[in-house]
C-alpha cells in the first residue's frame, strides 16, 4: 500500500469540494481518476501530493515527500534558466547528483539533450512538459500523480510521456492519473475512481466498468495492462 485516504473532506470556506473520500493506492497499480469538470479531481490529486490539506479526514502513507512525483498543468520551471540549470536546481533540492554528466542522460531520455543550454523560456509547450518529465524522473518516485499530463502536447511528446509512464509502472511505481478521455484511457488502467458531485461514486476495476470499447489503433499507443 503506497497511500491510503481515510474519509477525506475538503472545503474552501463554505464551498464543498470533496466529501468523505476513502481509497487506497497500491504499488504497481495504475489508477484512473475521472469525473466531470468541477468534480474535485485536481483537488484530490493535490491532497494526495500533500499540496493541499484536507478539511476532515487524513492520509496514511509510508512514502516520504521526495518519493512522490507530481505532474500537472504547470511545469515548475524557471524560464530564465537553461534546461540543465533547471534540473540542477531541483537535483540539489532533492539531494540527487547534479553534475552535467549525471543529468545529461536524463535530458537525452526526454530528447532535450541538444537543448541542454537553451533557456527554458524559449521552449514549446511540449518541450517544457518533457523537461518537467525529466524533473519528475530525477526523483525516481514511487508514486506518480498526473493531472491531465497530455493537455496541449504534440503527438511526439505524448508518446514519449506515455513510454516513460509505462517504464515507471514496470519498475513498480503506483500511478494516479486524471483523464478526461475515459473512453480511450480506461483500457490502460487497472482501476477506475469516479468522482461525481464531490463524492466517490465508483471504485473498481477499470476493465469491469461499463464503458464503450476503446477506439482501435489509437494514434497515441496504449499502456500494457
Amino acid at each position: 500500500m503506497l497511500l491510503a485516504l481515510h474519509h477525506i473532506t475538503k472545503r474552501y470556506g463554505s464551498r464543498l469540494i470533496l466529501k468523505d473520500i476513502s481509497c487506497t493506492i497500491s504499488k504497481g497499480e495504475t489508477v484512473l481518476l475521472s469525473g466531470a469538470n468541477g468534480a474535485g479531481k485536481s483537488t484530490l490529486l493535490r491532497i494526495m501530493a500533500g499540496l493541499s490539506q484536507p478539511t476532515e479526514g487524513h492520509l496514511e502513507t509510508e512514502l516520504l515527500p521526495e518519493n512522490i512525483g507530481y505532474l500537472g498543468h504547470d511545469t515548475f520551471l524557471y524560464p530564465a534558466l537553461s534546461a540543465l540549470d533547471n534540473l540542477v536546481f531541483w537535483a540539489k533540492l532533492y539531494h540527487k547528483p547534479h553534475t552535467e554528466a549525471a543529468l545529461r542522460p536524463l535530458l537525452a531520455r526526454v530528447e532535450l539533450e541538444r537543448s541542454l543550454h537553451e533557456r527554458a523560456g524559449v521552449f514549446s509547450r511540449g518541450m517544457m512538459q518533457r523537461l518537467n518529465l525529466a524533473r519528475l524522473l530525477l526523483l525516481e518516485p514511487s508514486l506518480l500523480l498526473l493531472d491531465e499530463p497530455f493537455t496541449g502536447l504534440d503527438s511526439h511528446s505524448s508518446s514519449l510521456l506515455r513510454a516513460e509512464i509505462t517504464t515507471a509502472v514496470q519498475q513498480g511505481a503506483g500511478i494516479v492519473w486524471i483523464s478526461h478521455d475515459i473512453t480511450n484511457d480506461c483500457s490502460m488502467a487497472d482501476r477506475l475512481l469516479t468522482l461525481e458531485r464531490h463524492r466517490l461514486v465508483f471504485d473498481g476495476s477499470a476493465k469491469a466498468a461499463t464503458l464503450p470499447p476503446p477506439i482501435a489503433s489509437h494514434p497515441l499507443g496504449s499502456l500494457p495492462s
Binding site: 490539506q53 515527500p65 515548475f76 534558466l81 536546481f89 532533492y94
Partner: protein, 225 residues
C-alpha cells in the same frame, strides 16, 4: 534545511541578475529617493546626520519592497511554488532562502546608496563607522526577515508592492529608529547615545521576527490559492 535555503538563495540571485530589470528598478528607486530628498536642501547646504540616516533607511525599505516582490514573483510564472512545497526540506527553507537572497541584494543596493548620501546629501564618514556597520547588518537582518514573510503574504495580489509597503513600514518603525540613531555614528564625529539600548532593540526585533518567520511562514506559503 540550510543547504536547501542556500540552493534557493543562489537560484534567486542568479535569476535576479538575469532578469528583465526588476532589480534595476529597485536600485533606481532608492537612488531617486535620495536625490529627490537632496532637493530640500539649499545649494551647498549639508543635511543633518539624522535626516541623512533616515533617508538612507527610507530608500532601503522602498528598495526591499520591490526586491521581495520580485523574489516571490519568480515562483509564480510556472507555479514553481508548488514544486518548492513538494521538496523534502521544511518549507521554512523557502523563507530563509529568499531572506538570504534579499539580504545580499539589499546590501548591494546600500553600497550604492552610501556614495549617493555622500554626494547628494553632503555627508562625511567618521571614525565610528564600524558601529554603524554593525547597526546596518542588525537592521538589515530584521528588515529582510519581516520582508520575506510579508513578501509571501502579498504575493498574488494585484497591487502587491503598495500592499507590502503599507504592511511593512509601520511594523518596521522600531527597527528603523534603531538604524537611524545608530547610523548617525557613521556621519558624526561623536558616537551616539544609548548605543547598547538601541543595539538591544534591533537584536530583539531580529529575534522576534526571525521566530515569527519560522513559525508563521508555513501558514502563508501553501498550495491552496
Amino acid at each position: 534545511m540550510m543547504r536547501s535555503s542556500l540552493t534557493i538563495a543562489l537560484k534567486d540571485l542568479r535569476l535576479a541578475f538575469a532578469g528583465s530589470g526588476g532589480l534595476a528598478q529597485a536600485f533606481l528607486l532608492g537612488l531617486l529617493l535620495i536625490f529627490v530628498f537632496s532637493l530640500s536642501q539649499d545649494v551647498g547646504q549639508r543635511m543633518d546626520a539624522q535626516e541623512a540616516a533616515a533617508i538612507f533607511w527610507l530608500a532601503s525599505v522602498f528598495c526591499q519592497v520591490l526586491i521581495f516582490s520580485m523574489l516571490y514573483g519568480l515562483e509564480e510564472s510556472h507555479k514553481a511554488r508548488l514544486g518548492l512545497l513538494l521538496m523534502p526540506a521544511p518549507i521554512q527553507a523557502v523563507w530563509l532562502g529568499k531572506m538570504l537572497a534579499g539580504l545580499c541584494l539589499l546590501l548591494l543596493a546600500q553600497l550604492l546608496f552610501l556614495p549617493a548620501l555622500i554626494v547628494f546629501l553632503g555627508q562625511n564618514i567618521y571614525d565610528s563607522w564600524p558601529l554603524a556597520l554593525l547597526a546596518l547588518l542588525l537592521t538589515d537582518i530584521g528588515i529582510v526577515a519581516l520582508g520575506s514573510l510579508l513578501g509571501a503574504l502579498a504575493q498574488g495580489q494585484a497591487a502587491r508592492e503598495s500592499l507590502l509597503s503599507i504592511l511593512l513600514f509601520p511594523l518596521l518603525i522600531p527597527l528603523l529608529l534603531a538604524g537611524i540613531h545608530l547610523g548617525t555614528a557613521c556621519f558624526l564625529p561623536e558616537a551616539p547615545e544609548n548605543i547598547q539600548s538601541w543595539l538591544g532593540m534591533a537584536a530583539s526585533f531580529d529575534a522576534l521576527f526571525l521566530a515569527a518567520g519560522i513559525f508563521l511562514f508555513s501558514f502563508i506559503y501553501t498550495g491552496d490559492d
